[in-house]
């Protein structure tokens, strides 16, 4: 699998997490591999700003023509921003999954949870297993 940035953390359900420079904020999206499995994304449902979500909660849905997948919260926290651009241009999830295709930002409530997430190498193995 080609596109798995080394600086991010991952879930086996194909979400990525970036810890921002302030150390308090986490940005969440879906991986290159996930968007390629789904095909052309036509809609993204995001959580509401201000919502408190726990790690493992369903935080949204990403939809293509023939499939829909839940997006799970990788860690707990309060939603402080959502990517409103996706409403009009869901295709950004396909073209730039790690940049402008991000889904939402969380104010991290428990930094210990970060340890449970996968690094790029572990996630690459998940994708590899998927291919078989």
């Amino acid at each position: 699998m080609s596109n798995i940035p080394g600086e991010l953390k991952y879930l086996s359900s194909h979400e990525w997490v970036r810890i921002e420079d302030d150390g308090e904020t986490a940005t969440v999206g879906i991986t290159f591999h996930a968007q390629s499995l789904l095909g052309d994304v036509v809609f993204v449902e995001l959580p509401e700003v201000g919502a408190n979500i726990a790690a493992g909660d369903e935080a949204g849905v990403v939809e293509s023509v023939k499939a829909a997948s839940d997006i799970f919260a990788p860690i707990s926290g309060e939603v402080i921003a959502i990517n409103e651009e996706l409403e009009d241009s869901p295709e950004t999830v396909n073209s730039e999954p790690y940049e402008d295709g991000w889904f939402f930002k969380l104010k991290i409530s428990d930094k210990d949870e970060l340890a449970a997430l996968m690094d790029a190498d572990a996630y690459a193995e998940v994708c590899e297993a998927d291919a078989h």
Partner: protein, 485 residues
């Protein structure tokens, strides 16, 4: 061109509306409509021509072989349609008194009895309006049964992974959690997996038999025992009842409740996506919970009458304003009357003969059956995985190219567990010539795929449109015409 685009201001079919516009009295102005609704403005001939021409852009059983797996697209007898369209049937109001309903009630009563006999069950309610509503009624009865015994711990419904999507969706609509269990490579349910998940939390299991893999579940008696021993009930999804009609009865297999799809098994028209009809049948234990209304007899046996919640105080209730798709029920009754006991007995036989014959021809022509070591039932699965990998021609491409050959495509990509699959159901009403013609078309497309894959991957060429942009349809949603846009 849309009918709206053929409109001219002020035009309408003048013979079809009251000749004068009556005055309105006594309605406050703020409750009245202020702007006219944008309906078409066309003459009667324009309308007739527009919709007749639209109809010609459809494939249908009356025009083409339609081997759509799991949908049982058999011939819809014209006689049934004619009988259900007799003026006395069409003009009967659903709330007409029983004194003016004996003709209709007698048909319903007799059909209830026929369906009890062919399914081996103790009671029938005809009200569910489609298979999915029958499922809802069935699972709601399972829930009501456990609750009536004070057993509120049963929160799970077990569903094999090959099941129709309606099964898990229904279980959730009834407030249950879904436990999916795997299917073995030979098409039977993984019994060990079932034994692992079954327990005091199990409300029931939903099964299709023959399964969506097109094979008969051979361990059905053991599954029945396992679930019953744990206190759960067995739900039979009647989608594939055509395969076994007259040969095996769900009641004898141990099922407690089932729905039938009259538009499949009892040959009522599919109507471009409905109306269907999904009656439920139950064993003794679930009799008190049947949805209302049902037709019964008066005490002195002299006439028919409606049974409602006064007769069935534990009913799960009503599923429609009146009594379901009454006209479809009438067509199914006529179908049963025309076939009679011998005819119904042979439905399963000839649908199975046709499927096995086609499966053999396909296998002999080099197509790969998903379950080659098994008997086909009324349908069978071909996998085109090899073609997709080596030629870049998918099941979808074969499906589209079949349209050019004048055949409706089989069901594609279902069940999900077989890659690049075709689920093929010929039904008993197709002749040997049609079956052979379809196989010949598949052989011809295979040859095209090998020699000129592009030809197949860009099909169809002979239809009103080529392949459509589904992504645009979903991203730039346009679901209603407006002259303003």
């Amino acid at each position: 061109m849309l009918i709206f685009e053929k409109s001219s201001e002020g035009r309408y079919a003048k013979a079809q509306a009251p000749q004068t516009k009556a005055a309105v009295s006594g309605i406050p102005d703020h409750l009245l409509r202020k702007e006219m609704a944008e309906l078409p403005e066309a003459s009667e001939l324009q309308v007739v021509r527009h919709f007749t021409n639209l109809s010609r852009k459809n494939f249908a059983i009356d025009t083409q072989f339609y081997p759509l797996g799991s949908c049982t697209m058999k011939y819809n007898p014209r006689g049934a349609h004619r009988a259900a369209s007799l003026p006395g049937h069409l003009s009967r109001h659903p709330l007409a008194p029983e004194s003016h309903s004996q003709g209709y009630l007698s048909c319903v009563y007799e059909l209830q009895d026929i369906l009890k006999e062919v399914t081996g069950m103790a009671g029938v309610s005809l009200t569910p309006m489609a298979g999915a509503q029958g499922e809802l009624a069935g699972v709601a009865m399972i829930k009501a049964y456990h609750e009536a015994r004070g057993d509120t711990e049963r929160q799970e419904i077990i569903v094999p992974e090959a099941a129709h999507g309606t099964n898990p969706a229904t279980a959730v609509m009834c407030g249950f959690k879904v436990k999916e269990i795997p299917v073995l490579p030979d098409g039977d349910v993984d019994l060990d997996a079932l034994k692992d998940v079954v327990g005091p939390q199990t409300a029931g299991i939903m099964m299709t038999n023959p399964s969506t893999c097109g094979v008969f579940e051979r361990q059905i008696e053991e599954i029945s025992k396992t679930v019953h021993d744990a206190g759960g009930l067995l739900y039979y999804d009647g989608a594939n009842l055509n395969a076994i009609l007259g040969k095996v009865r769900p009641g004898d297999m141990g099922f407690d409740v089932l729905h039938m799809n009259l538009h499949k098994t009892f040959a009522t028209p599919h109507g471009g996506g409905g109306p269907g009809s999904g009656p439920v049948a139950v064993g003794e234990r679930l009799l008190p919970f049947l949805p209302t209304p049902i037709v019964g007899k008066t005490k002195d046996d002299s006439s028919f009458r409606w049974l409602d919640e006064n007769d069935l105080p534990n009913t799960i209730g009503r599923l429609s304003a009146f009594m379901g798709n009454a006209g479809i029920i009438l067509r199914a009754y006529v179908y049963a009357v025309l076939l009679g006991r011998d005819g119904l007995h042979r439905v399963g036989e000839f649908s199975t003969l046709n499927a096995n014959y086609m499966a053999k021809l396909m296998a002999d022509a080099g197509f790969k059956l998903a379950y080659p070591e098994r008997r086909a039932t009324h349908e069978f699965i071909v996998t085109l995985n090899e073609q997709a990998k080596t030629l870049g021609v998918t099941a979808m491409d074969f499906a589209k190219r079949l349209l050019d050959y004048g055949y409706h495509a089989p069901t594609t990509y279902f069940p999900l567990l077989v890659p690049e699959c075709f689920l093929i159901e010929p039904t008993e009403t197709e002749s040997i010539d049609e079956l052979e013609g379809f196989v010949e078309a598949m052989i011809a497309i295979q040859k095209e795929a090998e020699e000129n894959a592009d030809l197949v991957t860009h099909a169809p060429y002979t239809q009103p449109v080529k392949r459509l942009d589904d992504v645009k349809a979903a991203r730039e949603l346009d679901v209603a015409y407006s002259s303003a846009s």
